[in-house]
Each structure stands twice: as C-alpha cells, then as structure tokens.
Subunit: 323 residues, 2 copies
C-alpha cells in the first residue's frame, strides 16, 4: 500500500488515499450539484416538449401513453450525475453551461432508457426505481420496452442539435452506449451471474456497463465547449476514473450502508451472488481502489485549474458518500 506523503493529523495509517481526498468543500459541491440538477430537470421537461416542434414531425405528437411512460421515468428525479458531469466538464473546458444542456439531456435520456430496460422482468425484474414504480409496473411491459426505445432514439435527435461538434458527440455517445459499450456491459452482467464470481472480469464489465457512459458524459461536455484534443483526453481520463470510483464505492456501500438511503437495499448484490470489488479485494482493498481512482480523477483535472473545482469535488464525493 502506498505510503502517505505527509504526517496525518488523525494518525490513522490505513486509508492514505482517503485522507488526501478529504479536503473537500462539501457545501459548495452540494449547492453546485443541486443547482445543476435543477437545471437538468427543467431542461429535460423542455426537451420532451420541444421534440413536438421538430419540423419533420409535422406537428403530430406520439401516443399520450408512450410520452407519459417516457416522462414517468425521465422526470422521476435522480442524481442527474451524467448530465451534471457533462455540464461541469463544459464549464471546466471554458464553455458556458447552457452550451451543454442538450448533450446533458441526451445523456440522461440514454441513461434512463437503460434503467427502464434493465428493470424489465426478463432482465433484473425490479419493481421500484428512484423510489417510484418502475416503468413496466406503472404502465406495462410493452409500453416500457417502447418507452426505452423512444428515449434512446430521441436522445440522438436531441444530441444532433447540440450547438457545437454535434457529429462527434453522436459518434461518442453511440460508441459508448452501443453493443461495444453499455449494452455489451449489460449482457456481460447477465452472463456473469451464473459464473464463479472469482472468474468474472469485473473490470471489463464495469468499464462497459457504466464506465463508458461516464467517459462520454465528460467528453461530450468538453466537445460542447469546443475543447482541444489534449483537454478532451484529460476529460476522458477523468470520466473513466470517476466512473470507476463510483462503481467500487457502490460495492462498498452495498456491504456497509446502514442508512437505508441506498437505492438497492443492502447486501442485494451479495444475495444475487454477483461479483463485486468487495468480494474480490476485501472491504479495505475496495476502499483503497476507490480512493486511488478518485485521486486519478482529480489529477486529470490539472489542466483546467480552478474551473475544474466542481468536478474535483465530485470525485471526492464519490468515495466519501454514505449512500
């Protein structure tokens, strides 16, 4: 284990990485994220409405039930992590937040579609999501399948109207979300369930299932700001490390969370016999990995100076949160 560089005030020697990342102005982060999430919620509502005005649609609306199902899942709240990362990455790269709103909405639409399909009876068969009935419970299975399909497809329509670099953004998101990315990761995840958890390639599954959408979130933000190749590369590193930190810390919380705030219920992965970082590396090992990843994420933000402060705080939050 890496040696702490400075003497510790608390004297604990077991979590060097943890100590280094505790210098977080939590209040600022909470306020920033809350403000951004509120912006995202407002923009998502507008985006659904704006689709109707798209010329090619000829003023015709989709069936009310389909739109209601899409809205049910899309507007159910949630942390809005991906859109917040996107907007803050745009700001870090010197852009204005509103330049990233469309891309942020597209990311949340893709994320929401993946949750709707993931919750289906044939997949994870979940009844609750974000504290509400899942889409197929609130409506029905066919409607949920179509609501997911609609959100995914419409996301590309929204993204194609991004004010800067729309084509690169479409390419980035499609690559991240498709069969080589998120969808492939969901398949991995299903295939891994029957396997010996020790044999499962956790890293590859995670990188695909959630990691690539995190990377796309920060890269899209950079593209919205017209960032250069070096800044995009830095955001790519940040997104990958942040996604990893969140994932490993989720595994940690699945074991130690006693707040009842966690979405899935403690020990759920354990019951499902899923491979997790805690099973693989032990609780302390997983904690260390998560903190190490958060450090990598913060380090990647150096080129952005103070403009990267919220992103840095987010990386620290990823491995400090208790739910």
């Amino acid at each position: 284990m890496q040696k702490p560089r400075r003497a510790s005030k608390t004297g604990k020697k077991t979590k060097p990485a943890a100590r280094r990342v505790t210098r977080t102005r939590t209040v600022n982060l909470q306020a920033s994220v809350k403000m951004r999430a509120a912006q995202v919620d407002r923009e998502l509502g507008r985006t659904l409405g704006r689709l109707r005005d798209f010329p090619a649609h000829g003023g015709v609306s989709p069936p009310t039930r389909l739109l209601a199902a899409m809205a049910h899942s899309l507007l159910a709240g949630g942390k809005r992590l991906r859109p917040v990362i996107c907007i803050e990455s745009c700001v870090a790269a010197g852009g204005h937040a509103p330049a990233a709103f469309r891309s942020a909405c597209a990311l949340e639409m893709v994320h929401t579609y993946s949750l709707i399909h993931d919750d289906l009876p044939a997949m994870d068969d979940d009844d609750l999501r974000r504290g509400q009935p899942t889409c197929h419970k609130a409506f029905d299975e066919a409607t949920a399948i179509l609501a997911g399909d609609g959100l995914l497809t419409d996301a590309f329509l929204v993204l194609a109207q991004a004010p800067r670099n729309p084509l690169r953004q479409v390419t980035e998101l499609a690559a991240a979300a498709g069969s080589f990315g998120m969808v492939g990761g969901q398949m991995d995840d299903i295939l891994a369930e029957g396997q010996d958890p020790a044999q499962v390639e956790l890293e590859a599954i995670h990188r695909r299932k959630t990691g690539r959408l995190f990377v796309a979130s920060s890269v899209l933000g950079g593209l919205c700001a017209g960032a250069g190749d070096r800044e995009i590369a830095a955001l790519r590193t940040y997104g990958a490390a942040l996604g990893f930190a969140f994932q490993v810390w989720d595994d940690v919380l699945d074991v130690v969370d006693t707040t009842g705030k966690g979405g899935k219920g403690v020990g759920r992965d354990e019951k499902h016999d899923k491979a997790t970082y805690v099973r693989r590396h032990g609780l302390d090992g997983a904690r260390f990995l998560a903190h190490q990843a958060a450090d990598r994420a913060v380090h990647a933000l150096k080129p952005f100076g103070k403009r990267g402060a919220v992103l840095a705080a987010l990386a620290r939050y990823a491995v400090e949160r208790d739910h």
Copy 2:
C-alpha cells in the same frame, strides 16, 4: 371511383390504376433488387465486423452472445427493402451506390431492431421471423432486448460515419425512428388492438409505424448523393407514397394471398381483430388506394428521369406482388 383516362385493351373497368402500372420490366427490377440486396447483405456483415475496429472501442469486442444475437436477426436475409430504396435513391439523385452503403446498413439495423422488439412476448409474441426462430426464441428474452438495443445504438455509430451529410442523416433517422415516428407507431398499433377497428386512425398509425422509415430510406439515399432541397422533397414524397402502397397491398395480400409465401399467414390480422385498409375500404377500395399511391410514387420520380427507373419499378412491384 376515378374514370380510366384511356380506352382499355382488356376491357376491364374496375381497376384503372392497376392497368396503368402494369408496364413494368419485372425482370430488370428483380435483377436490380437481387443485386442490391446481395450488396446489402455483404455490407451488413462487414459493418458488424468493422464496429470492432472503431478507435473508441479500444479493440475490445462485445460479449459473443450479444453479437451472435444481433447477427442472427440482422443477417437472416429478408427483402432488404429499406436499404435497397436508400441505395437506389442515391443513384437516382446522381450518386454512386457505395456512397449509400453505410446509411443503407444503418437503416436495416434500425428495421431489424424494431422487428426483434416487436416479436418479444410482451409485444406481438412471435416465434418465427424471416423463416427462422425469432431472436428471443433462438437466444432468450433478455438477450433479444439487448440485441435490439445494440443494433439501434450502433446504427447511429454507423450512420455518423456516412461520407456525406452525416449529421442531417442522423437527424432524419432519429426523427423517423423515435417516439414521434416508428416507436410511436408501434405504441399506436398496440393501443389500437382493443379498439373498434372502425374508429382507429389507420393512416396515422401506418404513417408512423412504417411510413416514416420508408421516407427516411429515400431521403438518406438522396443525402448520400448530396441532393438539393428539391430532389430531397421529391424523394420524401416518393418514400411516403411507396410506404403507403406497400402497407395497403400487405393488407390486400393478407386476405387474398394463397401462395403461402407471405410471412405472416393469411388472415392473421383478421384473427387479431386489427384494423386494416381492406376492412375499412373493401378489397377493391384497398386495391385502388394502393395503385393510386404507386402512381403518386412514380410521379414523384420525374425530376430524376431514367436514373429513377428502378425506384419506379419498385413502386409498381409494391402493388403487383402476390406475396
């Protein structure tokens, strides 16, 4: 009913439109379509392989099972109608066929995803498609959901690499396939099943469910050729009329087909109590509507002269085929 403009050689007065469209060089069309479909089959195989080389994927393949399920449905053959329309529209607008290959593949990927999801137990619950077990029968439900998601998402990755007008193509396809287009039409279709067939807005359902992807097919072809606004508008009219002709003629064949070549089995819509054009307008009325639409499609091709010959033959074929 409209009066035939010229004296008829056969003397039959009931199907004026039918007579006007019988001057088809069927052999040429068959050869052309067969050649194009073979090109499409080859390109689809290459496209699946080429995804692997996409830089952002870092040389990592998706899970074999997912790729196998996608290939199972995508490479199962079929008429390849949408890609053929796309390629021929490119040729009609003065482009070279290969310029439209990527867009043609993207269209077939989107069409195939819609079939996979449409066949799911929660939707139409079909066991056979294109003479083979449906995706969820050959694999399982979860894999089929993901294979559809993968094809849809990857289609946008493929389309974003189109050599000309990629962004306009992404916008066109996303608008045509999303909640205001094809997905909305599938929802319409489900909602209509319980209703009084006489009250169902057949036109709106059809326009969304299949019509808009036909329109996108011809428009994408035009965009691949760098066509101007007037040519794009002509292709839009052609695609809409062609799609309508195919749909109405399908309803006709559902009642009169005795060849056993039809995919769905004769009278299937009748059994499902679905609203069809034959139910609404009678057999002769539906035939007339279909021929009228084929005429509209052929008429729209005027600006393209001889280069539009295959598209014109296709429109005539739409309302002459017996399966």
